[in-house]
Subunit: 340 residues, 4 copies
Amino acid sequence: MRKIAVLTSGGDAPGMNACIRAIVLTAEHFGVQIIGYKHGYNGLLDQEYLPLKARNVANIIQRGGTILRSARCSSFKTEESAKLAAKNLNALGIEALLIIGGDGSFRGACHLAKHWQGQVIGLPGTIDNDIYGTDATIGYHTAIETALDSIDKVRDTADAFERIFLVEVMGRHAGFIGLSAALASASDQVLVPELCTDLNTEVDNIVSHLQAAMNKRGNCSYIIVTAENLWPGGVTNLAQTLHEKTKLECRPVILGHVQRGGSPVSQDRLLATKMGAYAVEQAIAGKTNIMVAEQNNQLLCLPIETSWQQRKTLDPYLVKIQQEFFDITKQAEHVVNVKG
Amino acid sequence: MRKIAVLTSGGDAPGMNACIRAIVLTAEHFGVQIIGYKHGYNGLLDQEYLPLKARNVANIIQRGGTILRSARCSSFKTEESAKLAAKNLNALGIEALLIIGGDGSFRGACHLAKHWQGQVIGLPGTIDNDIYGTDATIGYHTAIETALDSIDKVRDTADAFERIFLVEVMGRHAGFIGLSAALASASDQVLVPELCTDLNTEVDNIVSHLQAAMNKRGNCSYIIVTAENLWPGGVTNLAQTLHEKTKLECRPVILGHVQRGGSPVSQDRLLATKMGAYAVEQAIAGKTNIMVAEQNNQLLCLPIETSWQQRKTLDPYLVKIQQEFFDITKQAEHVVNVKG
Amino acid sequence: MRKIAVLTSGGDAPGMNACIRAIVLTAEHFGVQIIGYKHGYNGLLDQEYLPLKARNVANIIQRGGTILRSARCSSFKTEESAKLAAKNLNALGIEALLIIGGDGSFRGACHLAKHWQGQVIGLPGTIDNDIYGTDATIGYHTAIETALDSIDKVRDTADAFERIFLVEVMGRHAGFIGLSAALASASDQVLVPELCTDLNTEVDNIVSHLQAAMNKRGNCSYIIVTAENLWPGGVTNLAQTLHEKTKLECRPVILGHVQRGGSPVSQDRLLATKMGAYAVEQAIAGKTNIMVAEQNNQLLCLPIETSWQQRKTLDPYLVKIQQEFFDITKQAEHVVNVKG
Amino acid sequence: MRKIAVLTSGGDAPGMNACIRAIVLTAEHFGVQIIGYKHGYNGLLDQEYLPLKARNVANIIQRGGTILRSARCSSFKTEESAKLAAKNLNALGIEALLIIGGDGSFRGACHLAKHWQGQVIGLPGTIDNDIYGTDATIGYHTAIETALDSIDKVRDTADAFERIFLVEVMGRHAGFIGLSAALASASDQVLVPELCTDLNTEVDNIVSHLQAAMNKRGNCSYIIVTAENLWPGGVTNLAQTLHEKTKLECRPVILGHVQRGGSPVSQDRLLATKMGAYAVEQAIAGKTNIMVAEQNNQLLCLPIETSWQQRKTLDPYLVKIQQEFFDITKQAEHVVNVKG
């Protein structure tokens, strides 16, 4: 193995830089050259790349974003684009391509593999944690922390005004950030796709829980964490609906893109570092069409298709305790504020 | 002076608890009793109050929100309510009432003063910093910090995607948070009421600045900080408008209520502590119908009406340098990312 | 099961409050009363306790420290003390005692169990992560984050002055915090008990690595993370030794007790919440002399003695890559600062 | 004015990069070239410099440390060195030199001015805030915040164990960080050079205050903030002394160099940005031998000697309330923890 290329694709995630650094340092350790393509797959097509040495990745482990930039590359679906990418990779003598991104980016890798003889290896990098086969993805833990930090702040105002807040967190079509952030912030309700069967039923449940809570606790703050893309019209509509049904003031908060940035927390720096080093080792070992994953604290390789062929499920124990904690019928005053 | 009451009213602000603590410790030092009314002026009407001792304010200096709760009290505008409040205050033997809040809360204090013989003293507590006569208000510095921390995170994604972001910050009808957060985060544009004459002209200016920037720098991230309540339909509409005129992707981010919470920064803890101690001294000195303020690092008293009789202006030097830094005609590539 | 008691013992750890909250809410859900003993085992002897209801644990999930206080109780080693504790527990009708603490506290639980018929259940709470049988302990992830945040700050000064820093982190006699913080902060060297055979050899290795690094990179910053209790005289002595051997300026930084405090990160809030809920379920199921643990994302019960009968080892893959990244003979300039 | 040079000297401070950025952007706005010397005055002697354009200062406003590096340059005291520096400056056609640093660095500037015809302008950059003539120095507010954040964490452990902690903060020979951090963290005592007459008397005062506090409050946490360089043998010795006199456990914590680093808070970013822009304007206006300062929110120029000719004093009102709050004879239980 003489030359490996790396790119970051799709939504950026904190830890991508730590992963790039680990790839470069490990490659240097084994005497392999590293080329970095910029702007995701676009860089492959536009031949926009730079050689990466240790000096280029110094002082980036703590940075959010990605020094290679990222992009969503819709044009990469065509046969022409895959062939062009293969031609460009061969022209540089690239033997393996490492893709840090989500399942969309992994599909792109498979598409490329149909027209390129080199090895393709995916590294799961997305805040959404919606990649099957790995316990966590690079960026997930930082996104939970950012959401949690914001919800902790919202609680201050919610308590001060004894007001209802709806906080929309990211997660695309998965509830991992939502459930973890809700449970870790002691929120009263969590609405995520995996747990929402029928939206009207959900609203009725929330309304009755809200009213039961107010009866038991007296006026109090009440925080509902919801996933994006779940509610028609978003949390602003849901807030309006709840207001109409309860006559209580409901304020929406949309955390948005803030959740994608920031310095990665230690868990993401370590996961990204381990996966980056391991991916280079697997490339040198000749592996291809694989995704690097971590299961039960063990690094392993899986067929890259695994990532989208099954849907990852929420931790059933977290779901169970979230529901038990807020089974209002069994409890009394559990969020009356001790500070008051 | 034997008995003083305190309440927090209007939007909560980080540092209100530090202020309550200072009021209680100073009063105890001078042998004066403190009563805390809950839920702002509502507590005055509903006689919802508690005696405050040092033990009640231990370990709150670092907490956001307010242990006394807050509320907006529209009903407090009537003569009946003011008379009832006066009756309740007299029944408890309260000689002075300290109100921590914004100018709306100060108007309530003046309304009360027409029907009550006791002393009323206002302490400026709002994240918006829109109170004339004091250099800063309690909560303002923490709100800037929270907004800044979020914009720093947004920049990571903006850089990674070389994308345009519109970030809406709070400030009600004032641009203090917006201008400070924009300048401190090296944002490319700031839209605040004090600097926006005509919205259509603004859009044209932004569009031409954007295009000039892209020409000079090549694709790059571009961040616009806007104040709330400025744009019809908010940043979501503005993002749509900019997209239509530039064909570039614009993403809106609304920081919202997150900016009201959080542990106060040192500046707010110190300002709140000084103002709380000073307000008790002024109460003991017999002052009434005043607002406590800080000008040029000196605490002083002003007629409470001052707070809303004039409009506080932005620091002209900050305005000047924000404009000079982004005078694209004079500059080249100033936000090409050094990391790339 | 009608009545369960809980106490926190030994060094406090972020997440202990989240654990107490989960114990109380779960117990309430199952109709079981909870008594909280204060000051660790001392509260058992002095009969210092309070009933815990949901209202007592509202708004504590985000707080560091422990609302039950903690203590190290040397006197609890005697037969008399165990018998007295048993007598007091029986007097209150306690059927199970939950101990949140480290292995020292678990030994105390076993000692008590010899003289008490009730159930004893340990929950691993310590920042040091030095408890065999569980992948992580409550507080560990927050301590890494705090250490990491400090090392990131030290790097700013180290880079500015191209200076050598020795940073001492906690961990008692284990290198978990040290290795994770060193790798996540891209530190140049890590000294932890598990990896240090002979101290003199270590010094020689560091000196030669330092000199090789300076030769390859030119002057640069250099950060060494060391565990406490490792070096005779601590980092101050080590800094002096390195200075004498290299004539380079070495600055010691001792992070100290700051690492024990702070709001728990999401991982600690979630682990503490899961373990607290699970411990109550196990108590109701009649389990005794067990420790609650998490292995490979699964909660389980282990004999409480397990916690100290074997020594937990460092992740060998983390050790391997830390060594590979800094194998200077294979590398060039890997920490020249890209910003310069 | 065609060419200006800038360097950072002495202890680095958060905000130095924001200041460099403002200098470069303002110079570019006025069509002036900027040269950056590296490693403080050493760069002047070694002719180590680089041209600075907007692109070089993008994305640094939020970074701690200094991209120009810093150093303490003892050799710069000689006449030879000043003459060599002048020769090198003239060789590059530098018309003005901006020095960002503390009073030691300003003395160096005056020394240079004796042998160089160009303009010298000082910008106060140090976390210690010990520069006369300016209300605040670049880096001061961030250092308070870092110290405060650490003390808030220490309090968690102090409360959990009801233990005494001594926290040593930076400040060289000034108590600005110490007093602000102590008051903002609700610490029980503060020991800073300005307020310590006789150390033995201080110890006796602390011991009696401690004992009075324990009597009034029962066991409780107790935090003493001390300035560095104050106590013979440092806080470790003081802790030992207090332990001997009170038989209570006292733990020392030395915050150390962590206080120099980190992303600057908004106040430092804004102050640094204003001072940087203003310094370039003053250079263009032909000013020399001046220090840029801010007094009462107004930027101004002072003779550079002013910075060390008088000693800046602590805010007397902060001193007064710190003493009143902890006048134990007047108070009861003021730090009993409300959470317990």
